[in-house]
């Protein structure tokens, strides 16, 4: 069974950099939707405030909200990166946070070494990596470049490799912060196809994005965050509508 349960999850960030406190808190108040609380000595930002929700197999969930509403923080809580300050998180299923496709890739290492490095970071074992290796090389269309250090690659080649490795294995729970960008026009179609397959096979997909068109294409559910609070959860059309009215004020 694949599911995610959040029970009144609150996440508070400590701010330790006291020297610039007053200036910083001003900037943060205008720049973000998070709320800043605290006295002179102990400043915290409440990034998520009592969020409860349950997601089940088949859910394709869009997270919407203004900058700083807590979208990335929520994704990181779902990924198990942040342990909530209060509340409980239960996740059943293997979680793949795909926030930075190129994380852990080393410019001085060859393409093949990077497949191994990135594969291990994604939680694959060497046998799985070996099984996917040929397919990754083929899909990224790197040919003999795969034996060269990736600093010799163009930006597009690097992206192709990172994309091919990151989507090699199909996870049960897939977390995305903004949709994966897929490079040049020629590569675009194949990548799009693979991405669609990848998205359909995952048990649960959670995607934070501002691109409503993409969200409509992929998601069947949505949740709306505002100042760290969950103020809307339901069908994608409903929630995007209330987000739009929130934006209009």
């Amino acid at each position: 069974m694949i599911e995610i349960l959040l029970d009144s999850v609150t996440v508070e960030f400590p701010l330790y950099d006291m020297a610039g406190r007053s200036f910083k808190s001003h900037v943060l108040r205008f720049g973000t939707g998070g709320r800043i609380r605290g006295d002179q000595r102990h400043v915290t930002i409440t990034a998520l405030d009592g969020v409860s929700l349950s997601l089940f197999e088949g859910d394709r969930v869009a997270i919407v909200g203004h900058n700083g509403a807590g979208k990335t923080t929520l994704l990181r809580v779902l990924a198990g990166i942040y342990e909530p300050s209060r509340g409980r998180v239960v996740t059943r299923g293997t979680v793949a946070p795909l926030f930075d496709l190129a994380l852990g890739m080393d410019p001085d290492a060859t393409g093949l070494e990077n497949i191994r490095l990135r594969g291990l970071l994604l939680g694959m074992n060497p046998r799985e990596i070996a099984r996917h290796e040929d397919e990754i090389v083929a899909f990224s269309e790197l040919g003999d470049y795969i034996h060269m250090p990736i600093r010799a690659y163009s930006a597009g080649m690097r992206l192709r490799l990172a994309f091919a490795i990151s989507t090699a294995r199909e996870p049960e729970i897939l977390l995305l912060d903004e949709m994966i960008g897929v490079g040049d026009a020629r590569f675009f179609e194949r990548a799009q196809e693979r991405l669609n397959r990848y998205l359909t096979r995952a048990g649960i997909v959670v995607l934070a994005s501002h691109q409503t068109k993409v969200l409509h294409q992929i998601c069947n559910k949505a949740l709306l965050l505002h100042h760290g609070k969950l103020i809307g959860l339901g069908s994608i059309d409903e929630v995007l509508e209330s987000y739009a009215s929130l934006t209009r004020g």
């Binding site: 990924a79 990166i81 946070p97 080393d106 191994r116 490095l117 291990l120 970071l121 074992n125």
Partner: protein
Amino acid sequence: MLTKEQLARGLQDLRAGFADWRLWGYLGWHDIRQRYRRSKLGPFWLTASMGIHVAAIGLVWSSLFGLSAREFLPYLCAGTVVWNLILGNVTEGCGTFVVASNYISQINRPVSVYAFWVIWRNLLVFVHTLAVYVAVALIFRLWPNLNTLQVFIGFPVLLLAVSWPPLLLGLITARFRDIQQLVQSLMTMVFFVTPIIWRLDQLHDRAYIATLNPLTHLIEIVRAPLLGHPIPGLSLAASVATLVIGWFVTLGIFSRYRGRIAYWL
């Protein structure tokens, strides 16, 4: 305060982190290869620079102390090799989580993986530098005897005793960034008050300065058997104490604050 649940999750993190040996094993190797990529000697630069260091210090110091090279060089070399293992785990250990902050905020692996990474990398460096000791022992015809076997007691104790600093110091540094600078300057000082480039018996009636220093004993439990001497009981006891007390404190603090690391970075 530390709850039972936190302790259980701290231990679980350590278990799962250790079981992830393929990841930290690869990252550790990768670091070493990476550091010496495109150089002719490769990782053997580690061996070469240790050799140069020991030869230079050894020749000067043995004349200063009026000791023969045969007496002094193996002692110096064994001590320096072990000291480097301790130094690496302590100073690089401060950066365990700060250096891995990118990984910690992007992927969900047990955080102890990053400590095992530091320990493993330093162990690999140790193996490369140990080759210098073997060469020195061969040059001076220092053959192994029965006491040498005690290294199989001394080394595991040493390794376990230097395995907690990457967790504990890494955690404290993630929260208080000054710790790394403090530890680095302390270790520079500690090097001179630890019998590595001098011998304990040269302190005469001030030997207690070194005897009170736990690093003296950690070095001795490996150096003594390497040189063919038995491990002194006091050194073994002091090292086991360092191991047990260190891990006890580390387990408590790590389990209590493990979940905060991602917030501190």
